[in-house]
Each structure stands twice: as C-alpha cells, then as structure tokens.
C-alpha cells in the first residue's frame, strides 16, 4: 500500500541560489494513514520549513530545489497555489505555532470557523455544523464560544478553535507546527490529548513538529530527529528514544531535565522571608492571596504554577517592580535594598536594550549603584562575561548579533554584576531549546556554587524546576498549595493539583525509569 505522505530527498533553500546551506537538506519522511509522526529538532533545524513546505505554505523567499513529495499517491511538489488551495483545508490541514497571532483579532470565532467550513465545501454552514466542529475538539459549551473574539479566549481555547478549524474538513493529514510550545504544561497536555483522540477517532494522520522529545515520546508512533536541515535518525518512537543511534539524538535525550535526587537538604539560614503576601491589582483582580515562603542562603526555591497563578506577580513584588497590597518581603530581616535582588526575565529577546552594546548592558547595575570607576567597571564586565561562558569580544556586540542562549547568558551576567544575594529567575529557559536549556541550567548551578547567591526559580514547567531547585512551592490561583523538598514533593505529592502537574510533564514515566 502506498503511504499517505511520502517525502523523498526534499531540499528547500532560502535566498539567492548557490548561497548558504539549504534549510531542508535531502529529507526523507513517510507518514502512513492513521499514524502520528513526530519531527523533533531545535529551532533552526529546518523542521518548521519542512512543515510549511509540506503544506504548500513556504514564503516567497524559499524555493524547493529538489526532491519528490507524494500525497495519497499523487505528486504535490511543484503544485501551483490554486491546486494547493484545493488540497489545503480539505485533505491537508495545518495548525500553526502561536495561537495568539493565528486568529484574526477582529473576527468572532463564528466568522472564522464558518470561513473554514465554507472552504471545506459546506457553502452555508448552519449553527449545528459550527457547534459540532467545536464540540469535536472538546469545547464544552460551543454555542457560548461562537460569538466571542479571540482576545476573550485563553491560549488553550484559541489553540482548540484553530484545531477545530483545521479538523472541520476531516482532513487525511494534520500538520501541527509546535502546536503547544506557546502554552503551559497543563494546557499542552489537554491539547495534545485532544489531537491524539481526534486522530484515533477519524483515522487522521498527524505530522507533529516539536522541539520537545518528551512530547514526541508520549504521542508519536514514529519519530524523526532533525538537525541542520537533515533527518539524522528515524524510526519507531520506542526504538529512537530507547536506544538512539545518532549522537545528536543522544545529546537531546541527555539534555532533557532530570529531577534532582538525593536526600532533602538540611534547612539552612533563612535569607529571604516572604510573609502573607497579597496583591490586588486595580480593578479587583487578586493575583496573590496570602503567599508565604522562605528562601535559604545559597539555595534554590522553585515556584511552579500554571499561567495566571500569580507566580510572576511574586517575582515582580520580590524584585520591587510592584508594591504588594499587604504582607512583607524581608531580606536578612530588613526591607530589600537596591541591587541586592536581581532579575532574569523570561524572554531574552525583550530584556536587552537592542541599541546598547553587551558591555553597557552588563554594566548597567554597576552604573546605577555608582560602583567603581569606568575602568574598574569594564574590568568587571569582562570577568562577568567569562563567568557566564561568553568570550570577551561579545562586550562590543549588540544583542541582535547573539543567539537566544547567548542573550540569556548576558541577562544572567547583568544580574550577577552587583553581587546580589538573590536572583529571581522568571521562566529563564522556557524560550530556549532543550540543549540550550540544559546548558543554562548547568551554568546557573555552577554560578551558585561559585558565588553563593540564592535563586528564586519561577516556571510553569515542573520538570525544569525539579531539575534545578532543592525545594519547591506549587502555586494555584494566587495561593501556595504545596511546598517542601523537591524529592519529597515529587515522590509523594499531597495536593491534587501537584499530581496533575506531574502527570502533565511530557515523557514523564519514560524518563523516570
């Protein structure tokens, strides 16, 4: 039997001919009917270009320069846009990466869904057809959702609406490009459950593009690992993840965060004490409701919770960006003084001033505290860059010349500059690839051993927190529902919410043993 989708030697290039290496370089891939195939790779590995090429959605700057793609036995490479439009939405569906931008903000869900249904051949979709399309993707009350605008929906629901639109025509193949990387772990689980369920029910094949090996391990029948435009390993999920042959697959597997094991640390000397913190934003939204925790000297406390649980508000209160409504934040028994608590933000692309050189960025806290002369500051910047594993010449460059991981290192160097007692890390690795993530976590551990500061590590990803923090606190709806040594909480979670979080970690049981 011919496979549903067969790709042979597909090569895609960007820019003028003959320059640079291709983004997709001679890729072979097969998707059988009803099968879920995961393509795993870092950003820049060419996996998104591959997904776009297979959906006929390549930008004008890209060209397919070689290879054969057959879908349902017919060649689809080199199809014209008109022919693609007949195929796309009906036989091949595409779910994009970012549900935040993929829906038209000025159109209701009804209008966008109706448009999708019209394209699949229902000229005037009735109310029940629209509701059925949403019901199929597990939306509990479709009628109420139809007249909402995208901004009134959470990320998970937006992604479900997109999925509903994609699946409305009962396509034979669903191409999902990082469908959950913009969502937190819990929502990711529900969305992926849904994809799997719908695929099994309708016999739809799924090509799942992801950077997360755990996701691939949980969901896929077969896995292809991509790096630098090539597929370096391909096979059944169990075989690829259980006994990987390619060195790159092994590196990916090694980089997955491993929970800290070993005995619970002895209680140390309390450094940062937060008592009964409460923050009500103007308008009455209660972000944090009576949170209390203690951070010991030279230790790491992980704060885990879904988005909207109030963990970022705690980060902002501790760093002094936001005044608490009530409650106290004491460092060594006194209010926090300037420079002693520093901050590393989630998005390294936004947290560095694009017009400043890296040297000036790292020196900023020193300038603010008027520490040392200009020459001393320059000397200190070079030492800090060395500390975070960056070469000294980076000091003269602009952030735009650096990769995401390098930028996050710069942000860490800046936080280190005034020798703080506490560094608040707000989702420090969630914008980074698995391999870079592991490097940054290792760097943070090394810096803590060397300089002895404490970390408050905030993340939605329990796996990351468990890999870096000796103690953790779990937040839900502004309250801390559980806290304790990481190993204890993981072994015997007391709160039901913690158990849900644990279950949502992709690839969990496989990694644990």
């Amino acid at each position: 039997m011919t496979p549903l989708l067969a790709v042979r030697g597909l090569t895609v290039r960007y820019g003028p001919p003959g320059r640079g290496r291709p983004a997709v370089d001679g890729v072979d891939l097969t998707v059988e009917a009803g099968e879920i195939v995961a393509v795993v790779g870092e950003s820049g590995s060419g996996k998104s270009t591959l997904a776009h090429a297979l959906a006929g959605l390549l930008p004008d700057t890209a060209r397919v320069t070689g290879g054969v793609v057959t879908f349902g036995g017919e060649r689809v490479d080199g199809l014209r846009e008109r022919a693609w439009r007949r195929l796309r939405g009906r036989r091949i569906a595409f779910v994009p990466q970012d549900p935040g931008t993929a829906l038209n903000p000025l159109m209701t869900v009804r209008a966008q869904l109706a448009e999708a249904l019209r394209l699949t051949g229902t000229p005037r979709p009735g109310e029940d057809a629209l509701e059925e399309a949403l019901g199929r993707v597990g939306i509990p009350d479709p009628a109420a959702l139809l007249d909402r605008y995208p901004h009134q929906l959470s990320g998970g629901f937006r992604q479900r609406v997109l999925l509903g639109m994609a699946l409305a025509g009962r396509p034979a193949l669903l191409i999902a490009d990082e469908p959950t990387s913009a969502l937190d772990t819990m929502v990711q689980k529900t969305v992926l459950d849904l994809v799997q369920k719908v695929a099994a029910r309708d016999g739809t094949s799924v090509l799942l593009i992801t950077h997360d090996l755990g996701v691939a391990a949980d969901r896929a029948d077969r896995v292809a690992v991509m790096t630098e435009g090539r597929v370096v390993e391909e096979g059944p999920a169990d075989r690829v993840l259980g006994s990987p042959r390619a060195a790159y697959t092994r590196l990916l597997l090694r980089s997955a965060p491993q929970p800290l094991t070993g005995p619970a640390p002895a209680p140390g000397e309390p450094l940062l004490v937060v008592r009964d913190l409460r923050k009500v934003y103007p308008g009455g939204t209660i972000a944090v409701e009576g949170a209390s925790f203690t951070l010991d000297r030279a230790s790491t406390l992980g704060l885990v919770g879904a988005s909207g649980s109030g963990k970022s508000t705690i980060a902002r209160v501790v760093t002094g960006l936001v005044e608490p409504t009530s409650g106290s934040v004491l460092l060594d028994g006194a209010p926090v003084r300037a420079g002693r608590v520093q901050f590393v933000a989630q998005n390294p692309y936004a947290s560095l001033d694009p017009l400043m050189s890296v040297g000036r960025i790292v020196a900023e806290p020193l300038r603010a505290l008027r520490a040392g002369t200009r020459a001393e500051r320059r000397e200190r910047v070079l030492r800090l860059l060395e500390d975070v594993g960056l070469p000294p010449e980076v000091a003269r460059r602009r952030p735009s010349a650096l990769s995401g991981g390098q930028r996050q290192r710069v942000a860490i160097a800046r936080a280190l500059a005034p020798s703080p007692d506490v560094i608040v890390l707000d989702e420090p690795v969630s914008a980074l690839d698995t391999v870079t993530q592991a490097q940054i976590l290792a760097l943070l551990r090394r810096l803590q051993d060397k300089h002895g500061m404490a970390y408050l590590l905030i993340s939605h990803d329990l796996a990351v927190v468990a890999a870096a923090a000796e103690r953790l606190a779990v937040m839900r709806d502004g309250r801390i529902v559980e806290s304790g040594p990481t190993a204890d909480v993981l072994a015997a979670p007391a709160a039901p919410f913690t158990r849900e979080l644990l279950a949502a970690i992709p690839g969990g049981p496989r990694r644990g043993g």
């Binding site: 760093t319 002094g320 960006l321 300037a338 420079g339 608590v341 520093q342 901050f343 933000a345 998005n347 936004a350 947290s351 560095l352 001033d353 694009p354 017009l355 400043m356 960025i361 900023e364 806290p365 300038r367 603010a368 505290l369 942000a411 800046r414 005034p418």
Partner: protein, 268 residues
C-alpha cells in the same frame, strides 16, 4: 535590481547636493548680485548668458534662485527642528506621565491637529509678523502635533518593554532610564517622520512665502520668486516655472532619500 535601485538614488542626491551647496555657498555657484538688475536685459528667456532667464528688472533668475535657497532651506530645516524638539518633548512628557496630565496634553494636541495646518500657520505668522524665521516657527508649530503623537506612542511601547523593566530592577533612576533606554529606542519612527516632514516643510515654507509672509522683497526666496513672476505668466513663463520646478525637485529629492533611508533602516 538592487543596483538599479541604488542608481535611482543618484539624481535625488545630486539635487539635494546642489541645493545644499547653493544654500551654504551661493557665491560659489553664482557670483552675481541677486538684487542688482540690468534694465537693458529685462525679461530675457533662458539662454547661455542667463540659464534661467531674467526678470522684469533685468535680474538674473538663476542668481536669485541660488541666493534664495539659503532662506528657503533654512526655514524648512528650522521648521522640522522645532517640530521634532517640541513634539518629542510633549510626547515624552505625556507618555511618561500617563494619567491625567497625559490626557490633558494629548487632548490639546488633538485640538491642534483638528485645526487645518495652513490656517494655523497663517495665524501664527499673523501674530509674529512676516519674516523667514517667523514662517519657520509657524510651520514647525503646526507639524509638532504629529510628532508628539508618534513620540508618545513609541514611549508607551518602549516603557512596557523587558529592558526598561530590567533597568528598573538594576536600580537605574527614572530620568536615566528615560534618557538611555526610552528616548533612543523611541527615536527611530520620529526620525523617519522627520525626513518625510522635511520635504513637506520645503513645500509649505514656499507656499507661505508665496503668499507674501516670508522675507520682504527684494530679498529672494523660492516662494516669493514664484509670486513675483505671476504678472508675467503669459509673456515670461520662466519666472514662475523655474523656481516652482526647483521647489518640486527639492521636495521630491528629500522625500525620496528619506524613503530610501527608512526602508534601509527597517530591513536591517
């Protein structure tokens, strides 16, 4: 393609170069006196001796156009300078303060925008009296409102960015954050708008001077040259057409170069 596009810049650059040279060193291009005429040489059409012809008093039009570029261009540059400085300052204050002050300032700016700009210019000139500098100020004031709105929007955007937050955690003072982070990052669109506005200002200054509010005669200015040639439209077309074409060429050249610079900075 890129080569052709680069080639297209050359005429604009030449026009602008010639205009700047005329403004900075008029004597170099045309050593004659723009005010002194030779009555035996009245209303001569363009020829070898007088490339742009002569006017009703026998003055060389080329000389007058060359000597008129300094006040005309100066007025345009001053106008844009006034607009950028005043507009940015207003926008910076409004965007930083937010709240009631922001509302108050921006509503005032909207009132300014609601008045037709030419009317506003005439009112300011009527209050200040005629003269090149007065016209420049009037044009600048009328353009400031747009700059203040762009600046405010940029300030609001940049203030919410991660690096401004990071600077606050570093302990950097508010004024320093404003000067080192907010202003430089907000300046891009304002600079782009300024290049666009310069071409516009050349036109507006010429228009106001055409109406007789610029430098008093006999001093040459592009706009007043066109006005002075009007009675001879039927018999001596060059008196109005040549200065008019010069204004159009300079405005086009400035706009074109501004556009090229803008697209280049955006794609980078």
């Amino acid at each position: 393609m890129t080569f052709m596009r680069r080639l297209g810049v050359v005429p604009s650059a030449l026009v602008l170069l010639a205009a700047s040279a005329a403004a900075l060193a008029p004597g170099l291009l045309s050593p004659a006196d723009p005010l002194r005429g030779d009555l035996t040489q009245r209303l001569l059409p363009p020829g070898t001796a007088h490339p742009f012809g002569t006017d009703e008093l026998g003055r060389d039009v080329f000389t007058r156009v060359v000597h008129g570029s300094a006040p005309s261009l100066q007025a345009a540059v001053i106008a844009v300078g006034v607009a950028v400085l005043a507009g940015s300052a207003i926008g910076l204050v409004a965007g930083t303060a937010r709240g009631r002050l922001d509302g108050l300032v921006m509503r005032a700016v909207e009132v300014l925008l609601a008045v037709p700009s030419f009317l506003l210019i005439l009112v300011v000139v009527a209050v200040l009296g005629p003269g090149t500098r007065e016209v420049a100020l009037a044009v600048g004031v009328s353009a400031a409102a747009v700059f203040s709105r762009v600046m405010r929007a940029e300030v609001v955007r940049v203030r919410g960015s991660g690096y401004v937050e990071a600077a606050a955690v570093c302990g950097t003072g508010r004024v320093t954050v404003l000067l080192t982070h907010v202003l430089p990052n907000a300046a891009g669109p304002v600079a782009a708008l300024a290049t666009l506005e310069l071409g516009n200002a050349v036109l507006t200054v010429a228009a106001v001077s055409f109406l007789g509010f610029g430098a008093p005669p006999p001093a040459p200015e592009w706009g007043s040259l066109v006005a002075a040639g009007r009675p001879f439209l039927a018999s001596a077309w060059w008196l109005t057409t040549v200065p008019g074409l010069v204004v159009a060429a300079v405005a086009l050249a400035v706009n074109h170069l501004g556009h090229v610079l803008r697209t280049r900075s955006e794609t980078r």
